[in-house]
């Protein structure tokens, strides 16, 4: 599930607007049987795929992007920037995975 999610979110991050992370998470939550552990690893996959892509683009810019973002947010190091990316994407996925899972159970119950 983790690798599957990693692949899916990587494609989504590269090709679709940022908010489609939520759409993809709803779909995953709806069509996949989620438990807490699976929800956490899937969300982490979403965050990790974002970090990998961000790191790639940052390296292409000579680390200028992460450097500027760190300055913008008053962070002490660029690591904080990538942790931030990880967190934002993971939380987005987690919240909407939860909603997708709830939706599937509600549909199943009815």
């Amino acid at each position: 599930m983790f690798y599957f999610a990693l692949l899916l979110f990587s494609v989504q991050h590269m090709l679709l607007p940022w908010w489609t992370t939520a759409v993809l998470a709803v779909l995953l939550g709806f069509f996949t049987d989620m438990d807490w552990w699976r929800a956490i690893t899937t969300s982490f996959a979403a965050g990790l795929s974002a970090v990998i892509a961000a790191y790639y683009f940052d390296a292409r810019s000579g680390s200028l992007i992460s450097h500027r973002l760190a300055g913008l947010f008053g962070a002490h190091s660029v690591t904080s920037v990538f942790l931030g990316v990880l967190l934002l994407s993971s939380v987005t996925a987690f919240l909407w995975l939860g909603f997708g899972d709830w939706l599937s159970r509600r549909v199943g119950a009815s």
Binding site: H13, W18, W19, M34, A50, F57, I65, T92, R105
Partner: protein, 809 residues
């Protein structure tokens, strides 16, 4: 895993999270679009230039050669093509800055920044900037050459916006898209700069002080002219015609009007102490046998820089120099035969009138025995959340009404609203061959008033250029009475009366924003100018040597000598009471007594003196009147003279100024000087540690270059740079020499050395962003590559692009 009734919580939390990411909260930007891997900041693309690039509306091919310093050299067969490509290139490096800077005077910052900038937007709207810009644009467009400049430049900017590889980082942070560029944006940029240079006036505060302490007190602390010998005068007095003989005599206010207004409204005063320098030596004074020119313009230090370096070669001209962001053409620069550059004239062109309306809600006001209807124009100021505020802009014969207090109002009459065709004047400069040609071009220059230096191969000249208020006829020192003072139009001097100097016997001309004229000789341009220190030291440096070389010119630009300290420190040392000082403090005083008055970045003397003088001024002036800002203290030259007065004369009236009126005790100069030293000492101790020998001037002055939109992390902090505000370097920390040039004219072709901190590149994600900042701080210059022909440029530059008209099928 999830209970059924928690679904709604997931949805609400998820939606709220998306909303926060999508819209941002408070100062936090919208992180979703900003960090998007699809089209956010991570996918930022640098501008890449192919060998050939099609551009709509071109009439012929245009060659652009980029030199190693990142300066574009543009060669076009006609002017429209030249400015079209200039617009395209400038936008490729400065798009965000161009839009931001034009939003200031147009009162549109709040659409981006919300409540934070609302008062500023409301001010510029009430101040009449929009109507003024429309009028100016209409004036500019009457001249076909100027219209071509504006329209072609805008078209070039817009074509870049259409073709841009990605949005500049700042737009992503603000979650906005670039807006199409129009000619009026260029006008708003020039209005904004004009306000920055000519938007200061003491009138409101002097009226307040006069109400508290009386007319004589004001005239004593804010005299018509700087006390001798702390005075530098730029120009000889213009020849008076017989009709002007009435002007002779000291500037007198008459019986000044006392305002009944209780409050001083919000006014975004441009900071005091703005400085620029220009000087030139003629062929006789130059070691090369040809004229030399130096110019450094001092403004807020920003990244990107306000200037953009470029060579423009058109059908009948070839010029090199600096363009202003969002403005086509070149402002400061040179051609093969001549060079030119400004300093701010600093002449006060802002007067205030107290208006008496019929009643609190009426817009009809009294003027003598008449009642006059105001012109009302309803404007809108947009906010970040999409809301708009309606602003009724009230225009009277005395200017725009800024503020109302019951049936009274305050109108601001700004002479700089009256434009001519400044862009046309600059365009005319491209072909000048002599000093006289240069002065002729400036006939069309009204505002802002500048000391323009004009240099040809052999001669040098300087002119106080602009529409000049006749301050003998209209002193403008206090708020004026809108009811009785019915002569509401400005009294101005004719163009023939513009102060100027050409090839004086000394062989040099100079200006540093100081007093242009000796009022006692009959013509007055007002009392309020910059301090004389930089002008005096430049004059000294140029007089000391019989022949001046280009290297001398560069060295003088980097001069860190603090002339004010050389006058004030000996007085301080005579007055300080040693008995109350510690051993360490005595050691520090000994260091100051041996100091050569160079404000060196890593030395403590400059830091100590700076704090000492500032605190001394606080101590002696803060009790005198209720105007709180250091910006509205008496001039430093008056403070230095006060030190002389109290030292030489125990009965001098300045002893009363030194005394703290709020206490029963009699504070002596010795007491205040010692207290100022000790307070300054404590401040340095708290900010820089207990070892005074490790205190550094650089940590007091804190030289740094901020991002133009004040985005954290997009600027350069704490550069090591010698010199303070009083030195030729004019280093105020966040304000300084944003452009420096030295031109050495020659028989065939001039050479020039230039520095623009930050360089041309304005994209924070480009490796060349902030380029030359360190070099600039260290005083290094680089030689400009001013090419004679397109062929020479193509051979010398590694990167060449041909902009082509689109192919017709």
């Amino acid at each position: 895993m999830f209970k059924r009734n928690r679904g709604i919580i997931w949805a609400v939390l998820g939606a709220a999270w998306l909303l926060v990411l999508g819209k941002g909260v408070g100062p936090l930007p919208a992180l979703g679009p900003l960090l998007s891997l699809h089209n956010g900041i991570w996918r930022h693309h640098l501008q890449e230039w192919p060998d050939q690039l099609p551009l709509e509306n071109l009439n012929g091919p245009v060659q652009v050669s980029w030199d190693e310093s990142g300066v574009p050299h543009i060669f076009a067969e006609n002017e429209a093509d030249l400015y079209r490509v200039q617009g395209y290139l400038m936008a490729s490096q400065r798009l965000f800055q161009m839009e931001l800077i034009t939003r200031v005077a147009s009162g549109r910052l709040s659409e981006w920044f919300g409540e934070r900038t609302r008062s500023l937007d409301e001010f510029f709207t009430r101040f009449g900037m929009r109507e003024s810009a429309e009028r100016t644009l209409a004036d500019f467009m009457k001249d076909p050459g100027t219209a071509t400049m504006l329209e072609a430049f805008s078209d070039g900017v817009n074509q870049y916006i259409t073709n841009r590889p990605s949005d500049p980082a700042e737009y992503l942070i603000l979650n906005r898209e670039p807006e199409p560029f129009t000619p009026i944006k260029t006008i708003f940029m020039s209005k904004s700069l004009t306000f920055n240079l000519a938007g200061r006036s003491f009138d409101l505060y002097l009226s307040q002080i006069m109400k508290e302490r009386g007319f004589d007190f004001v005239m004593d602390l804010f005299p018509d002219m700087e006390p001798m010998p702390y005075r530098d005068i730029i120009y000889p007095t213009p020849r008076l015609k017989s009709a002007d003989s009435r002007r002779r005599g000291r500037m007198v206010e008459g019986s000044p009007f006392v305002t009944s207004l209780k409050s001083i409204p919000f006014f975004p005063w441009p900071s005091a102490g703005k400085g620029s320098n220009n000087w030139a030596v003629n062929a006789k004074k130059s070691s090369t046998g040809y004229s030399l020119m130096a110019n450094d313009t001092h403004l807020s230090l920003t990244l990107p820089n306000i200037w953009w370096e470029v060579q423009l070669s058109g059908p009948d001209f070839n010029v090199y120099g600096a363009s202003l962001t969002a403005v086509p053409g070149i402002v400061n620069g040179m051609n093969a035969q001549a060079s030119w550059g400004p300093t701010n004239g600093t002449t006060d062109v802002l007067d205030f009138y107290e208006i008496e309306f019929e009643n609190e809600s009426s817009n009809r006001y009294r003027k003598g025995d008449q009642v006059v209807e105001s012109e009302i124009r309803n404007e809108q100021v947009g906010l970040k959340n999409g809301r708009t505020i309606e602003i009724p802009v009230i225009k009277t014969e005395y200017g725009y009404v800024l503020y109302r207090e019951g049936s009274r109002g305050l109108a601001a009459d700004w002479l700089a609203h009256k434009s001519n065709n400044e862009l046309g004047a600059l365009r005319q400069l491209y072909n000048i061959r002599s000093v006289e040609d240069c002065f002729r071009a400036f006939q069309r220059w009204n505002a802002p008033i500048q000391n323009f230096i004009c240099v040809d191969r052999k001669s040098v000249g300087l002119q106080h250029t602009g529409i000049l208020p006749d301050r003998q006829a209209q002193p403008g020192r206090f708020v004026r009475d809108g009811v009785q003072d019915t002569a509401s139009s400005w009294a101005t001097l004719s163009n023939e009366m513009r102060p100027r100097d050409v090839d004086p016997p000394s062989g040099f001309v100079l200006s540093a924003n100081e007093r242009p004229l000796d009022d006692e000789k009959g013509v007055s341009l007002g009392w309020d100018f910059e301090e004389p220190w930089r002008g005096m030291i430049i004059r000294k440096r140029l007089s000391e040597k019989s022949k001046i070389s280009p290297a001398d010119m560069i060295r003088f630009q980097n001069d860190a000598f603090n002339l004010k300290a050389s006058f004030a420190a000996p007085s301080f040392l005579k007055l300080v009471a040693h008995a109350s000082l510690s051993q360490e403090q005595e050691e520090a005083l000994l260091a100051i007594s041996k100091w050569d008055f160079q404000d060196l970045a890593d030395r403590p003397e400059g830091a100590l003196f700076r704090l000492w003088f500032e605190v001394f001024q606080d101590l002696i002036y803060s009790d005198e009147y209720s105007v709180p800002s250091r910006d509205f203290y008496p001039k430093e030259s008056r403070t230095v003279a006060l030190l002389d007065n109290v030292l030489l004369d125990p009965t001098h009236s300045d002893h009363a100024v030194v005394d703290d009126r709020r206490t029963q005790e009699d504070e002596t100069p010795e007491f205040m000087v010692t207290k100022a030293f000790q307070l300054g000492w404590e401040e340095l101790k708290s900010t820089q540690g207990s070892e005074w020998k490790k205190w550094r001037f650089r940590d007091v002055i804190q030289t740094g270059i901020r991002h133009v939109g004040r985005f954290p992390g997009f600027g350069v902090d704490l550069l090591t740079m010698d010199g303070g505000p009083e030195s030729i370097r004019g280093n105020k920390g966040k304000h300084g020499a944003v452009y420096k040039i030295v031109v050495a004219h020659g028989e065939d072709w001039p050479r020039a050395w230039i520095q623009i901190p930050g360089g041309n590149e304005g994209d924070p994600l480009n490796p060349n962003y902030a380029r030359y900042s360190e070099d600039w701080a260290q005083g290094k210059m680089r030689e400009a590559q001013f090419f004679k022909t397109a062929e020479e440029a193509r051979r010398s530059c590694k990167r060449n692009i041909i902009f082509q008209p689109p192919k017709v099928h």
